[in-house]
């Protein structure tokens, strides 16, 4: 819980700094753009929270996101109604997740290796398939769902907010979600308590895929073309946000509120630097510093609990 609070404190300090030095940051238009730019990361970070809490990792979501984006574009060009485009994209993401999950839970491939393979295969497969071409000539119903920029933005934010609220509630109150925490806390104890840990693993990866698909749709509809190189580095952003938000990288611990704070903190730094007149090249360095602090905090806490000899 403390890491969650430290991240929140850091974010408030950043906002306070901006309020004094660059009040223009808080102009409605700018805030809206900043928040909108965070939506795709938040959506995948929601899925990533469960993956990490279950004790796994998924580094293929950037590639999944790219494939899903192109697929969404192609489905739209083919004339499918937007509802089906969105659903189809999510189903594609779930398919990716099921492959990852099956590799990890049934074949016992370590998740970092399985998803590394998926990351390369999906990214290179996409390059082969599209030849690097963007999807253009999208129907008018695609960008902003055909609602125009203002309403479209509102829909994106609404979808993200509702999703976050429902998932955050479910994480605490639905049995299946608690099974994810139990599995990540101690997989063997979970198995002995009658939890099907393989099913849990499969489900978190499938959920992760669905989130990657949804994020791809919410991102793609902001533009008039779909790029084929989208989502590079998205997995790192999501993992960083989850870890900064207080989740334990070894599983068992992590909240969605924490993840939200992590996304907000890491996502605010880039725009903040612009407003503060600092070179944007500092963004990655500062984000790296925050992640390092968070991970060090966890290592120190783990060391302390080891020394206090709970398992002595």
């Amino acid at each position: 819980m403390t890491r969650e609070r430290s991240a929140l404190a850091a974010w408030i300090v950043l906002l306070a700094l901006l309020a004094v030095l660059a009040p223009a940051f808080f102009a409605f238009g700018n805030l809206r753009d900043v928040v909108l730019s965070m939506v795709p990361v938040l959506v995948v970070a929601i899925g990533m929270t469960f993956v990490i809490v279950s004790g796994q990792i998924d580094i293929s979501i950037g590639s999944q996101f790219a494939v899903c984006s192109i697929a969404a574009g192609l489905m739209a060009v083919a004339g499918l109604p937007m509802v089906f485009v969105a659903l189809g994209t999510c189903v594609l993401g779930i398919a990716f997740g099921l492959i990852n999950g099956a590799l990890v839970s049934w074949l016992g491939v370590p998740s970092i290796v399985a998803t590394l393979a998926m990351m390369v295969a999906a990214r290179e497969g996409l390059r082969l398939g599209t030849g690097g071409a963007w999807v253009q000539n999208l129907p008018s119903t695609f960008q902003w769902l055909g609602l125009g920029q203002g309403a479209g933005q509102f829909v994106i934010l609404l979808v993200a907010a509702v999703l976050f609220g429902v998932v955050a509630w479910a994480a605490r109150n639905v049995a299946g979600a608690r099974a994810v925490y139990a599995t990540g806390s101690d997989a063997e104890a979970a198995r002995l308590s009658g939890i099907d840990t393989r099913m849990v693993t499969l489900a978190v990866f499938a959920g992760m895929g669905a989130m990657a698909g949804l994020a791809a749709v919410l991102n793609a509809i902001r533009f008039s073309d779909v790029q084929s190189n989208a989502g590079v580095g998205l997995e790192l952003k999501a993992i960083a946000a989850v870890v900064v938000g207080g989740a334990s990288i070894t599983g068992g611990r992590g909240t969605l509120v924490g993840t939200l704070i992590g996304v907000a903190l890491l996502g605010s730094i880039g725009p903040a630097l612009t407003f503060l007149g600092i070179s944007p090249y500092w963004e990655k360095a500062i984000q790296g510093g925050i992640i390092l602090t968070a991970v060090m905090g966890e290592a120190i806490a783990a060391r302390r609990s080891r020394l206090s000899g709970r398992h002595a």
Binding site: R172, N173, V174, A175, G176, R178, A179, Y181, A182, G184, S185, D186, E188, A189, A190, R191, L192, S193, G194, I195, A203, S248, G252, R253, S305, R310, H311
Partner: protein, 478 residues
Amino acid sequence: MLLEARGIRKSYGGVAALRQASLELRVGEVHAIVGENGAGKSTLIKILTGAVIADEGEIRLDGVPVVGHSPLKARSLGIVAIYQQPALFPDLTVAENIALASETGGAWRILDWKKRRLEAREVLDQIGARIDPECAVSRLSMAEQQLVEIARALRAKAKVLILDEPTASLTEQEALRLFEIIRDLRGRGVGLVYISHRLDELFQIADRVTVLRDGTVIGTEEMASIDRAKMIRMMVGRELSSVFPKVDVPIGEIALETEGLTLRCGEIVGMAGMVGSGRTEFAEELFGLRGGRTVQIRGRECHINSPSRAIELGIAYVPEDRRRNGLIMEMAIPANVGLASLKKLFLSPKAERAVAEDYRTRLQVKAGSMTDPVKTLSGGNQQKVSLARWLATNPKVLILDEPTQGIDVGAKAEIHQQMCELAKAGMAILMISSELPEVLGMSDRIAVMHEGKIVRVVPRSEATQEIILALAIGSRAA
């Protein structure tokens, strides 16, 4: 009869863990199981809880045969085991830990946290545990975690509760508290299986006792009609059948002296004790792991605080678990042998091979090729490679932790033979072993550990299985 197990047999890869085991547990009884290390107690419990499936035999609960046993089945039947290491979810709260053991239903079920907390409170109150249901389990002490496990078993409506060394990590006060809870559960008709090395405890708490030896049930007795001496006789009463090649060699000067133990050149000192008595910890301290230990070597006092310091002082340690602590399974014999002795910036494969070839002949390591990874060797030959690595450091003091555990008879004899050769050459050997005949057969003196301390060092001429076991159990009668 509440629980019956009959004709249980179980082998692991040809090695019999249980030959002929049976157990009868009555309603409202505390039934103790005792036996030496490796007598088959753990295997029997695992079979009762469905964690391991027996090769043969039958389990009946309330007279009904249990078919398709599994941990889940055991849970639904109300057979719960509490192991030495708590099997809880450290990151989750007490209430959730308790709830997870008994809740059933689909993944989409919505949880009632208020009910979960109330129910947790209720079962905690039943055993008089003042623990906050909202607290994360990782913040509780061992004793508190054990109480949570008992509460969890109550919540799951356990009919049979199996306690494996429940007092091992408890203080005396906490243990007395546990006994009260056990008596209370017994009063409610729960059948308890109680495993403990501490025989004194059994006289306080158990109604009957079943003695296991070498995978066979020797007998079940009423506690009232048995005394400690008889129990120990039942536990060890075997003939010393195997022949050990131990030869007496002249004992030389003191090689190493530390609190509680003196090792002389040419001497083999056996170290006996129950699992968890601190034998491996003692050896690891001597070798500079675990914070180290102060020793006297050749009249000089040294504090050993790292393995490299220990090696410098001529101490070598062949650890217990070859796979986990010893060999690098993917690497070939020469690299494994040279690891501790050939410490240079640039390794010479030639020197490695030469050393390895030398030991391969001396120790009769049977390997297809020197370049094969060590994992392809048999257990006995792996142990020889592990031994070779440490002999290559040219030690004065050799510590062997369970040197013949899980290896075949032939290789075992060869390792015993080698130990004698080494002693003859003037090496001081400390051999930790859970196998009493081995300790008695190979040692000049036997150091017995109990609860982290060497309680006595018995000379070979005075040592019998009964005496060693009695000391290891911490029995005052010895």
